[in-house]
Symmetry: C2
Subunit: 420 residues, 2 copies
């Protein structure tokens, strides 16, 4: 056991880690461009804070007791701690826009390929009921995906009131909204089996066949329409909830930044799992890549109030870091990660000159790995190639520094210029 | 309990968090300038990995059991996981220079002002026995402290072999090295009570008074000498361990970057707590600031091998993030943290023009918090001032955007120029 790590957690190193940090920096910068500020909350929270918000999720809480026998868990997500934080800081002027990139923990079955410790990249706006805030979340989703390198992606939008309206339209007012919502939350299956997949799931959940036909009729006309929201308004004219949902989606679309709209589509088969959503919801998928949604979120106007009392609306999203990385890898977008460090491989007889050269390079902002551990240029090249360094400076053959360029990029060209 | 967090952990937000991230970025950049690469290891480790390395520390391990009843702990530090990582990755070519900034956990008594979750900022070089590697650690210590804003600081150096030699010189070969080491590890008390404090502690630990006199004589001449190492060589000429230690320190000093030497002093009252150090050790203190050492480290040639077998030397250090922040605050260096975000406070009648202006600013790399929640300029100013924003753009009074400068800095000047 001495060398092992528990199942479902991982060491991240080398180019994988360099790439991961690059992506995190880009996503954080997007949140910051929209005026979001950073927040850090503890890894450890009281069980009582998390209880009652995650339904089935509570079965996979990671429990621990401290010395004083307090009942604690490792945080399950970053949303509940945000609500807890807001409730104990009434002095913070709203709206509060924050991002938090941190690890959450779920003691899940790792056979299913789930991680037990994983990074969440959350951004939320607390205390703003305006639909502009929802549009801002969609703009951030778009900017983040663009920034990390995706060109082809679809941001799917739906609305919990629209789902409620559809359920009422199909089954009447005492319908089982939750069953219908869960059957609709079926994005992957829809891709694979189309509306038939949803139909079968609705029937399996005990929805009667007339109602199922009505829902599938709606999905059918929508999937063919170029004016989805207009069409829904016509069909659902007698369902006030549905009309409210459609109106809100229309307004959100109106507030999107340039270019964003062309990547957005209304998708009635998007429902999202968490119970706390109350308004618009979003997910994004990369066509042809089978990792599921690479981000998700929506409006949740009741969660923060359940801690704070009063009425504190909220909207937000999270990028799925691991899925984004998998998708970028599958698309070959991260094939050429540059590890912009100079290996300075030096013989011991030229130490002071070499140290001075390294020091000058560092002052010019260059990252230098200084080493006296190589007897031959070949061993230095092996070392540099194993780390994907673009450049070696060495004096292993003669007494003056020579440069070996391992691959061509902006960094190696910069070093050539500095070295002249 | 619904709004509470456990004792000894904390929420970090607002300017405190902005400042913390700035400092982390600067320290990470220093490690990167010396060619260190990032590593991430799990928060959760097997108890068996950590057992046997931390002596008394094991009493404050944070234990947890997972579903399958594995005995786990939250990591106690970042050094043991590094040794564990190296042992399971023999394919990594050495030397491996890595940094890791992450939280560690200790279920300590919080009455003593200890955190139970705290950030460590480690950098280590694995697989390099050369004293140049030790000198690189000292150079990094210097660069990090400079970079975050300190001008006046002392990096104290000592050597475990020199401590061993002093113990042998004073008490003979079957001396109680550990007791002497612990009595010498007394940096704060020495500042307060001088050599008398060390003397009393040595006597309390049962060292006989002749030996104590010899040690204090040594401390006395050293504290007055401008050539500490030369003087030690004369007095300790018959103690081969001591001479080895002195020779190594001399060589490390020879390899320091420009300007570093003037901030370094040899200090025999530095010993460091951890058992695993085997060579040079270092700490840094800020004169006049009572937070203790702001960084610490040294060479530990046997820890990695205890996981990997063979002989894998190692040297490294950690910046003490919380102490660095406290010291910077005490010195007033972080009084004027800038939160470089524009508040765009907009009335709802001018939405599309305002959204376009925000979008253009963002494209120019400016962080913009867009808001339609303010009815008066006064409420917008309150909001911006509570977050230390330098600039507001608003159209709350007229129909065109106007600028309010809250304070003068590079950012507000940039916005003035963009806004022209």
């Amino acid at each position: 056991m001495k060398n092992l790590i528990p199942a479902g957690v991982t060491d991240i190193y080398g180019l994988t880690m360099v790439n991961r940090r690059n992506i995190i920096n880009k996503l954080e910068a997007v949140y910051q461009r929209y005026g979001f500020e950073p927040l850090s909350t503890p890894t450890i929270e009281y069980l009582s804070v998390f209880g009652g918000h995650h339904g089935e999720g509570e079965k996979i809480f990671f429990h621990l007791n401290d010395k004083h026998n307090n009942k604690l868990i490792l945080r399950y997500d970053l949303t509940v701690p945000l609500a807890r934080f807001i409730s104990s800081h009434p002095e913070i002027k709203l709206p509060y826009k924050r991002f938090q990139f941190a690890n959450s923990f779920r003691d899940d079955d790792v056979d299913h390929g789930h991680f037990r410790e994983f990074t969440q990249c959350d951004g939320d706006i607390i205390g703003d009921s305006n639909l502009l805030a929802d549009a801002e979340i969609v703009n951030i989703a778009y900017s983040g995906l663009k920034e990390v390198g995706f060109n082809d992606f679809t941001i799917r939008l739906n609305h919990r009131l629209l789902i409620k309206g559809i359920a009422e339209y199909a089954c009447g007012s005492d319908c089982d909204i939750l069953s219908i919502q869960r059957a609709l939350d079926f994005a992957d299956k829809t891709i694979k089996n189309g509306i038939d997949g949803v139909k079968q799931d609705l029937l399996n959940r005990g929805i009667n066949s007339d109602s199922v036909e009505k829902i599938c009729y709606l999905l059918g006309i929508v999937s063919k329409s170029s004016n989805v929201l207009g069409q829904l308004k016509e069909v659902l004219v007698d369902c006030p909830d549905a009309i409210s949902g459609v109106n809100e989606l229309e307004e959100i679309l109106r507030f999107l930044d340039n270019d964003v709209s062309s990547h957005v589509s209304i998708d009635l088969t998007l429902a999202r799992g968490a119970d706390y959503y109350s308004g618009f919801i979003l997910e994004a998928v990369i066509p042809g890549i089978k990792v599921g949604a690479v981000l998700g979120g929506g409006r949740y106007d009741n969660l923060v109030s359940s801690f704070s009392g009063g009425n504190i609306p909220a909207t937000g999203m999270a990028f799925g870091l691991d899925r984004i990385i998998t998708a970028l890898n599958d698309l070959g977008i991260t094939n050429n990660i540059s590890n912009d460090i100079v290996l300075m491989a030096v013989n011991r007889n030229q130490l002071s000159e070499s140290l001075l050269a390294a020091s000058n390079l560092r002052s010019a902002g260059v990252n230098v790995n200084f080493n006296v551990n190589f007897d031959t240029l070949e061993s230095a090249v092996d070392y540099a190639e194993s780390r994907n360094y673009p450049v070696i400076l060495h004096n292993l053959k003669n007494n003056c520094l020579e440069m070996v360029k391992l691959h061509e990029n902006d960094f190696s060209n910069k070093i050539i210029n500095l070295f002249k």
